[in-house]
Every structure is written in structure tokens, then in C-alpha cells.
Amino acid sequence: MSEARYKGSPLPIPQQYPLSEEELTARTKALQALLIEKGFLSSDMIERVVSIYEKDIGPLLGARVVARAWVDPEFKKRLLADATKACAELGIGGMQGEHMVCLENTPKVRHVVCCTLCSCYPWPVLGLPPNWYKYPQYRSRLVANPRQTLREDFGLSIPDDVEVHVWDSSAEIRYFVLPQRPSGTEKLTEEDLAKLVTRDSMIGVGDPLPPSSLS
């Protein structure tokens, strides 16, 4: 790199960024190896935790919760009163969802969730967050200009007479949205309804799919 040849003051940063994939790989393996040797990590533990978040936990779980709330008014009441407890009824909960709150969209109120300070996200119902949720663009824009961000970056226009409620997950409470049930879904089964519930609709940056998407 050129720093060595620069004859001036020290540059404002000591390194060249971003790092290469090779460098990140080497550093990660070094830590893994040391922690395996010291007894804090093991080959089967790596496989197990990765597999849980690749295969078992993801937005399909949140979709089940939403679909249940759409078909079962009593469950919906319990969900809005205490989402952690209600999700536990369906066997859903755990790490990064110890204190969950579910926010109900209505014709007059739309909710959208972010984390300006890091990337807090309700893992048990949505899985691990996508990069855009964790990257600086979303985290900086959403709290200041939610309508503009939703319109420009997510194609979602919200009329001015609909309230926008933004939830910045700055503590250990984890939020997700109960989107409005799409029209024309009166006859769908709970299982089919769950297929309409997208991850984005539970973050609040999208709508559920229309029933026509099922066919």
C-alpha cells in the first residue's frame, strides 16, 4: 500500500479498508483455533449453532405467529399484550427475543423497526437480520426520514394521514410488526396465510404478499 511511500504526516487511519476476504478468513480461523484449544469452542458446536440459524430459526417462525394472530382474535390479544409469552405458546422464543413486543399495523398507523446504535433484531421470529438492516444507510436514514426511506428504498408510499411510528431498539426489547391481513384472504388456511407474511412486512418496510402469489 501507498502509506509507506507517503512522505507526509501520518494518515488519519492506520490501515487500508475494507479488509480482504483472505485476511478476514485468517483472523477468524486464528480465533477459532485458539478457542477450540482452550475449550470454549468445538467443531460440533460451530456446526450446531450455524445450522440452527441456517435451518431452524428464520422469518417462517414469525410468519406462523402473524398468521395465527390473523385467524385467532384471542391469540392476537395475548400477542399484543405480551409477545414473548404468546410466541412461547407456539414454542418460539429464546436468544435475542427474551423481551418481545409486537406492534399492530392498522389503516391509520404503520410501524417500522430499526436499531440506530447497532443491529438489534428479534432473532426468534425473524432469524438473523439481512445486511441492509445492519449497514449504516438504513440505520442513519430511517429515524430521520422514515417516509422518504420507505418510499425511495423500499417502494412503499405511506399517505401523510397515516401515522408512522418508528421503533429504535436501543435497549433489550425486540420489536416486530403485525402487518394488516391482506384483503381477499378470508378463505385461506392459517398455513397458507403464513406464506403471505414476508420478513420485510414484519420489520415494517414492506407489505404481506397478495393472495394471488400463492398460485
Binding site: M45, A144, V164, W167
Partner: protein, 226 residues
């Protein structure tokens, strides 16, 4: 600290970039770093507030230009070295080895009990709630002001709400205080509130969009009566 992680209201970072059909992990090293979270936090080597504070200490230019799991890698390296669980020298030596021989494999060691323990942790969670020790100072509906504090340590009071007035929306319960827990100064459990701020209070009438409320979760010590 007033760092680059405190992004609310920052301009000039560009539009949101979405990836179609994004996988849970993009590479082997991302999986590796993810597992390291459990090896450290899951084994109690580093607490969650120390973990976040470590990330905040990345150089701002590095923080803003790096991949997400790079943040985790940074804070895990830093935390383990600072706590003396590994030495900088052994870490550097090992990284050099894997850099020079990218085909070199990890040591193979199975530990089914450890794997089971982590799976149980995922299922059970690691609550930061604590038994209430005091009754909350503020009640739902009460106007409050977020304090103007500028600590160089860790805090979850974002700059964009400091000095601003809101209303208590909900009392969440009693939680560990990150500001002290990140510095090894104890858990100091205290009430956490959801505070509702109108957009115009945060951004001014010229910049705020209409008809918006921003809800921020704040510890009692961040607040004063308004």
C-alpha cells in the same frame, strides 16, 4: 461514546442496498465469527455490553466501511486479548499461519456437551431483566427530557435524542444498565422506558416529516422530568 455507531440522523451514507435472496451467511468466515459469539458471550467470557462497546471503539472510518461480522471479529479479538484469555502474540502468530497457508484446517475437537449447552442457550435466551429494586420514577404519560450526556464510555442514549422532550409510552421493567456493565462496573439494574418523541422535536419543523413518532427505549438514569 459519541461514535460512528450512533447513526440516527446522519446524512450522506447513501441509499439502502438490498441483496436478492440473501443467504444467512455469505462465507465460511462469517459462520466462524457467528460461532465465536457463542464461544465468548455464551461462555461468559465477554458480556453483551462489553461486546457492543468494543465495536464502538473501531476507528469510525473502519466501522463505516466494513462488513457486519467484521465488527464482531474486531470486538471479540479485542475483548479476549484485553481479558487475557488469549495473548496478542499467539493471536498474531496463529493468524499469520492461516494467512500463509489458507488450506490449513482448524483443530478438530468434538464436545457434544458444549454444543448441547449452546443449543439450550439459544432456546432459553439470556435475559437482561433483573428483579425490580426500586419503583419506577416516571409513569406512563409523563413528559420527560433525555439528558445531555457525552460520556466517552458506552451508553445507549443516542445523540439524536439527547436534550429532547418526549413522553413515557410504556414501562418495560428492570434491566441491566449497559453504561456500567460495559466498563466492568456492575449491572446496576434500573427501570427502562419506551419514550415517544414527535419527529419535529427531534429534527425541527423544517426537516421533520409529518405525522411521525419515534419510540426510543431509555434507561431511567438517561431521563429527567420535563
Amino acid at each position: 461514546m459519541n461514535g460512528a455507531h450512533d447513526l440516527g440522523g446522519f446524512h450522506g451514507l447513501g441509499r439502502v442496498q438490498r441483496e436478492e435472496n440473501e443467504p444467512v451467511f455469505h462465507s465460511e468466515w462469517e459462520k466462524g465469527v457467528f460461532a465465536l459469539l457463542f464461544a465468548t458471550l455464551g461462555n461468559g467470557l465477554i458480556n453483551v455490553d462489553e461486546f457492543r462497546f468494543g465495536i464502538e471503539q473501531m476507528h469510525p472510518a473502519y466501522y463505516l466501511s466494513s462488513r457486519y461480522y467484521e465488527h464482531w471479529l474486531f470486538t471479540i479479538e479485542k475483548g479476549l486479548v484485553e481479558k487475557g484469555i488469549i495473548s496478542k502474540e499467539e493471536l498474531d502468530a496463529r493468524a499469520r499461519r492461516y494467512r500463509e497457508d489458507p488450506q490449513a484446517q482448524l483443530p478438530e475437537r468434538k464436545d457434544p456437551k458444549l454444543a448441547d449447552r449452546m443449543a439450550a442457550l439459544i432456546k432459553r435466551g439470556a435475559p437482561c431483566t433483573r428483579p425490580s429494586v426500586v419503583s419506577p420514577r416516571f409513569a406512563v404519560g409523563q413528559p420527560v427530557r433525555a439528558k445531555n450526556i457525552n460520556p466517552t464510555g458506552h451508553t445507549r442514549l443516542a445523540r439524536y435524542v439527547r436534550g429532547k422532550r418526549g413522553v413515557i409510552h410504556k414501562v418495560h421493567g428492570t434491566f441491566v444498565t449497559p453504561d456500567t456493565n460495559a466498563l466492568g462496573k456492575g449491572e446496576n439494574p434500573q427501570p427502562v422506558y419506551s419514550v415517544a418523541f414527535p419527529a419535529w422535536e427531534l429534527w425541527g419543523w423544517d426537516s421533520a416529516e409529518p405525522n411521525e413518532t419515534i419510540y426510543v427505549d431509555l434507561w431511567e438514569s438517561y431521563l429527567e422530568p420535563a
